[in-house]
């Protein structure tokens, strides 16, 4: 059950990177900048078309992990999942910056057996990939998928202990702290792919509130050689940031698994796919 939902999340994130830009996954915190000795944040988590409206399906919270400012693990509390959204609380008890992240890695793919296209079972990893492909399978298509959807919360002054990269998938390294964003000021972030600067990475930034305007207001940005890019926020508010590589819709309509044979690929060298999502709060000056 758990694995199924994890992959649902991964699929949704993959879909978000597709050309149609449908189904965006997000977490929306009640606040990102907090004062007081301790404080609570409530987070909505959903997969939707419009940002940030819960109108499609909830994001599963099973996989959401909290990292406290001192690097130790925190926890989510009061998690509940409804028809359109999940919600949970994070109790901030330490001064500094918290990370709330849903991270998943796995192998997705398909093969042909006796003329029939089959998908790799959910929960396939590098370790059990060989066992998942039956003898006689042809046209094996695999992709190693790393998805990260995370938000940052700061009680008191921002800190940066939690930003030590783990070296898997796409990660954000702040030059400008993500809880110190003000409209009209440029912010610089560095993106890493598997621990190295992600040069030429396409990054999309969309302000929330889509439902009540005509233009999407999307910024399409590309990182430089050093994996860095600069974003200027036209107005205060919540912004959705998405970066992905490997694109395509795994097993989806129009994808290789839908019947068009792709190039033969040895199962041992999966294609790299990764996606990154964060929600950033930009304050008024």
């Amino acid at each position: 059950m758990k694995a199924k939902y994890l992959i649902t999340g991964a699929l949704a994130a993959l879909l978000a990177s597709g050309a149609a830009q449908a189904h965006r996954q997000w977490m929306l915190p009640s606040s990102t900048t907090l004062s007081g000795a301790d404080s609570w944040v409530t987070v909505d988590a959903a997969v939707s078309n419009d940002l940030f409206y819960f109108e499609h399906m909830p994001m599963r919270t099973d996989n959401v992990a909290v990292t406290q400012p001192d690097g130790s693990a925190g926890k989510i509390e009061n998690a509940a999942t409804g028809k359109y959204r999940s919600t949970f609380d994070v109790h901030l008890t330490q001064p500094g910056t918290y990370r709330v992240a849903s991270v998943s890695t796995g192998i997705m793919g398909s093969y042909t057996l006796n003329g029939e296209v089959k998908r790799l079972p959910r929960g396939t990893t590098k370790d059990n990939l060989a066992a998942a492909i039956p003898v006689g399978a042809t046209n094996v298509q695999t992709a190693e998928v790393s998805n990260r959807n995370e938000i940052f919360l700061t009680l008191g002054a921002p800190t940066s202990t939690i930003f030590k990269p783990v070296g898997v998938g796409i990660e954000l390294v702040p030059i400008t702290h993500p809880n110190d964003l003000v409209s009209g000021e440029a912010a610089t972030f560095q993106f890493l792919l598997d621990g190295k600067p992600a040069a030429g990475l396409k990054v999309t930034v969309i302000p929330g509130g889509i439902r009540y305007r005509d233009a999407l207001g999307q910024q399409d940005l590309t990182t430089g050689k050093d994996g860095k890019l600069s974003i200027t926020w036209p107005q205060p508010g919540m912004y959705w940031l998405n970066a992905s590589i490997g694109g395509g819709r795994e097993g989806g309509e129009g994808g290789p698994a839908a019947g068009q044979p792709g190039p033969e690929r040895p199962a041992a060298t999966p294609q790299r796919r990764a996606s990154y999502v964060t929600t950033l709060e930009v304050l008024a000056p």
């Binding site: 900048t33 004062s35 000795a37 110190d180």
Partner: protein, 173 residues
Amino acid sequence: MPSGYKLILGTGAALGAAMPATAQTLNVSVAIPRLPVAEYHRPYVAIWLEKEGAAPRTLSVWYDVDKAKGEGTKWLRDVRQWWRASGRSMSFPADGITGATRAPGDQKIAFTTGKGPLGQLSPGSYTLVVEAAREVGGRELVRLPFNWPPKPGAVFRAKGSSELGAVSLSFGK
């Protein structure tokens, strides 16, 4: 003897003009407007001093200091420019800086050089900033640029339009 006496007087006067040897005060007046609203809460107010190239100095913060379990600190971040400039690095309550919220009317507060949150002022350009944020209300910020040391009798004035009325800065000894 008479000439020596004159000399001392002259030196004293010159020092007084260029760099006052004695403590001076910054007298700040902040008008908190009386607002005809159904639910009124006294605003949170932060007063701080900015100087280019120096860390901002928080002089005074008026908030709900008496609420149980320090709950009043929850909304300090809504005084958002001050919070970013200085507040988020402080702990609360802060001795000699924080106090209770104040009622509508002209609120006066004085800061003495060399003492408390003001400390010593080196010559240069400063900005006194007053920011007010009100629960279920708005937020406003007023800036008062001035030079230190000030000319005798100098008074600096600015005016808010919603959450703050007239704000003035004068100097005394």
